[in-house]
Amino acid sequence: MNGLKLYGRYVAVSLRSQMQFPVSFIATSIGAFAATIVDFIAIWALFTRFRQIDGWRFEEIALFYGVIGVAFALADAFTRGFDIFGDLFVKTGDFDRLLVRPRSTVLQLLGYELRATRIGRLAQGIVAWTVGVQLSSIDWTIGAWLTLLFAVAGGVALFSGILIMQATLAFWTVESLEIGNTLTYGGVEAAQYPLDIYARWFRTFLTFIVPLGCVSYFPVAVVLGHADRLGVAPWLARLTPALGFAFFGLSLLVWRLGVRRYTSTGS
């Protein structure tokens, strides 16, 4: 069985098990929706009072927010196995069991669970995205949609990379540390606004170190017709989400390093 087919099996099993308790699933999803929609309400409130932020309008922020929100919701759903890795695999020593199976550890951890309740967060991203598309007066060409889909794909890769690196830390700390949340949840918070409102050091950080801006700011600004604010050519801006994939590749290398270093807790 090839890797993709095996992953499909993992997903099917995971979804079936989560649907054993449909009421709990629905309640948790609604809770996730409520917990994240307040962010969007806050943005709406700020724009009701201020009308604009450095020249950007509400519907434009909604699109930035939607793109990054959808990307994070998907990544968060896929990488549950890495999210709880320290506590559930390293501390307990269960990682040994993954190592003796003839499949890659990354595949097994990705298959650990497809978190269906993240649909609540996803829905919230889609709401923001829809608001952005409906209210803004741009031409929604195929090219624009492809650019945004590529941005989401790059975003999923980037967030997954962050979550994998956070899990890798557990090889050293044994427990899951939540410091990665600054880059995941905090990253969503930062990237929901266009990068040009921030201080220079922060912009540089979000472009070259953890390229959150590349998976939302550059491509979305081009689609919104603000390529002039970017300081790079529009074609290049459309391609910047590729850095998200590069970051993901880097995280896999770091992961390998961690695995090589792993010693079982023996419990």
Binding site: I37, R49, L177
Partner: protein, 277 residues
Amino acid sequence: MTDAGSALRPYFAVFRARFNLLLQYRAAALAGFGTQCWWGAIKIMVFAAFFRSAASTPMTLRQAIDYVWLGQAFLTLLPWSGDPEIARMMRSGDVSYERLRPLDTYGFWYARAAARRTATPLLRAIPMVVTAGVLLPLLGAPQWGLSAPASARAAALFVLSMVLVVALSSAVASLMDVLTVATLSDRGVNSLAGPLIIILSGSLIPLPLFPEWMQPLLGLQPFAGLLDTPMRIYGGHLGGTDAIAALGRQVVWAVLLVLLGRMLMARFMAKLQVQGG
């Protein structure tokens, strides 16, 4: 090794184990502190951007920055969840022991809630206040740091208001415990309370930044007393009789929520069934 040495060995082992456990908490506290700095910085940069392109603002940027830093510093003071131990008691049936104590159960739970909201939040607040209030100015960025209170009177009222925050926050948390008794699980209550508190207390964005027509309603609701009231008093946004009135609202809500909690608790406890085993 001597006899005395080997006799002491288990104690050293226990000591080391406990010590390492506490170190883990320190790592968690450190991670929490890092997260709070990061969120504070993002919020401040976003507000600064909104403020610099606005003709008039409902509060000064100075007041907004102090609001954000202090809000981050006292984040753990807010009633984000009920007492996890009480939720466990509900699941296991151990809650019946609580009923056997020769104590008023509500008072007992309120005292627990108040304890959770004094020691830890204070310890968590110190590094944040030092970083934003001392370190940032020393690094040459006083305009982005936490400034001193608007006046001596504001400082005094701020302290008084923070004491009322503890009372009110404990009342909200106890009410959540009581609702946990009613629903037999803390999940529903906690997932509902989080979004409500983060937006209505001013933790997400300062309440004065909401649209003008919402201001009277926002000022009257109970969650404003959890964060918004002391933060605005500190920066001088709320002063004079307005500040006194806001303190009064904190007291009224704390008393009302305690009464409501007691009443509901009497009702739910009368109907509570604990299965054996």
